[in-house]
Point group: C2
Chain length 345, copies 2
């Protein structure tokens, strides 16, 4: 009764990024310590010994995960990892996390123990401390909110907005595998639902399923950058798919980009399984998401520093904004890359 609005605009008309821009456009920053607010992988807060980086993510049952095939321990691990990835994407080191959960009464203490065993495993591996959170009930399903707090240096913090024309576009690791892992799990779920007697057939699919159920964040790359004295000119992590992330880098840096299809790293299992599913492997890389690899740009004179580093691939180059964001296909065609982001309200 108190919340009756005359006009009603569907959220899907704006899409995820449009909604965030729209809702936050009137906010102003009042504190000198706020170096960067909304609009990057993490907020940047200045302190005397550097910067604190803060990032937060929601994981909602039925939207981000399905407990039919996602073990709670893996879910706990993944919930932490996806947030740490945002801190690494700022070239920082995560040190603390808070974890809040809202749970319906179908969750037992034993189920929560599994979830927290996964959270603890991630804390141990990535050397972060669980420092707080909130535990509450939910009318339906499980909602997890994780906030990660990291430490960085002001001069080496990497934003989305600082790529320049001529910079090389690089990525760590391969893309599209987590998406295909999800498709495999969804397929087995459907088979199980129509015939609960059938055992899941994921033989030989450890790599793809593992990329979906137990992703890792690229702390190794951040350490490698520091050792190599390489500071990317811009960086973002790949959570929504290569297309979305290239779009963010370009929009915020006010540049364009081209991506060579032949330069996009794909795991052999990704290529094989995409074909089995009658999908184009490059589409899986562009729109799949959940890879949690780092997409970054470097000044062209820094190429010597990455040439011999393992697991770093040069995929393209930043160009003037007027040239747009394009994929150069193996067949010699040029396709515009479209921003994605969800529209699944």
């Amino acid at each position: 009764m108190v919340n009756d609005f005359g006009k009603r605009t569907d959220v899907n008309e704006l899409g995820e990024f449009g909604v965030i821009d729209h809702l936050t456009k009137n906010f102003v920053n009042r504190n000198a310590s706020t170096l960067k607010g909304v609009g990057d992988d993490a907020a940047v807060i200045e302190t005397k010994d550097g910067v604190k980086l803060v990032s937060t993510d929601f994981l909602v049952e039925g939207i981000h995960f399905d407990l039919m095939y996602m073990p709670l321990k893996h879910l706990g691990y993944k919930a932490v990892v996806v947030n740490l990835s945002d801190i690494y994407a700022m070239n920082g080191i995560p040190e603390q996390i808070t974890v809040s959960i809202a749970i319906s009464n179908r969750f037992s203490v034993e189920a929560l123990e599994e979830l927290y065993a996964g959270i603890e495993a991630a804390c141990k591996y990535y050397k972060v401390d669980l420092v707080g959170g909130d535990t509450t009930s939910s009318p339906k399903g499980l909602v997890i909110s994780v906030t990660a707090i990291g430490q960085g240096k002001k001069e080496t913090t990497t934003y989305r907005s600082t790529a320049s024309v001529g910079d090389l576009l690089c990525v760590t690791g391969n893309l599209g595998a987590a998406y295909l892992g999800l498709q495999l799990l969804e397929r087995e779920k459907q088979i199980y639902l129509s015939n609960p007697g059938v055992q899941p057939d994921l033989e030989g699919q450890n790599y793809l399923v593992g990329r979906q159920l137990k992703p890792e964040a690229r702390v190794d790359m951040i350490e490698l950058f520091a050792k190599s004295e390489l500071v990317p000119t811009a960086m973002i992590d790949i959570s929504d798919g290569l297309a979305s992330e290239v779009f963010h880098l370009c929009k915020q840096s006010k540049v364009g980009a081209f991506v060579e299809e032949s330069g996009v790293p794909l795991h052999p299992d990704t290529e094989l399984q995409a074909i089995n599913f009658k999908l184009d492997p490059i589409t899986c890389a562009l729109s799949g998401g959940e890879d949690y690899e780092l997409l970054f740009t470097i000044a062209p004179d820094q190429i010597e520093k990455i040439k011999y580093l393992p697991d770093i691939y040069i995929m393209g180059e930043m160009v003037p904004a007027a040239d747009g964001i394009n994929l150069h296909t193996k067949g010699g065609n040029v396709h515009a890359i479209k921003a994605q982001g969800w529209r699944h309200f």
Copy 2:
């Protein structure tokens, strides 16, 4: 299928605080910057220029709020305020917040604009910056997660665990009003549901309803403490009710307490409405919650500093743990105060 646990212990067997203790008991802190993890109003992270305080809360539709009588603008305001209150309870000043929302498709852009107008109003009044968040869809209802980040000094940060025997137990403002505001709104909701033609009758109840719909955090008291050079020996904010919060202070400080019923501040409207509802006013103060006042202890030699300060009430004293936590009633009886916390899974 992957999450089938043999043993099944109901979460309600442990209660809120028991669940948190149980799930986090194996976690260790690995970073020197983590001064305080789980177990206080906020985590405490050391920096060269003091400490960063981090607190987070979930607000779940159908559990923490009802959109039948909670205007979205007020909800946005309140979601921020309850988190800022946790930072003030550490004797710190909040400077940044992140806000994440999960929304079902029944929320329009106009509805979200209202929510964010409330968030913005709180940011403006309390001088904090919105620096990030996550926006996602939800299968059902609205979930809001707010994280507040504040600045404090290491030597004046107030914990729950540092009250001593002999300290005076004090509170800012009056208690129980927000709970009675909620009861009034619930009553009108039931009347409306059985007869939608009837207009809500909240005439003369502005104070109680206001305490529920638009609580404020006691930044004024933190400023007053600083001006008076008063550092409480321990502090907590009252979100779950006086009984719960006294219990937390006592448990973590390893002391007992007595509370004088005659010393518990009650607003005249609270006393009147409690009697109308056939409730004992002191029960509303002890178990109602959502007052967002500060409950704190001071060394007895500091009494001169607060004697003439407005809106501070001395309610009792900290005693040896063996003496327990008791209420001295106006009638001269002694009742044990029981810990509350939710059990509403």
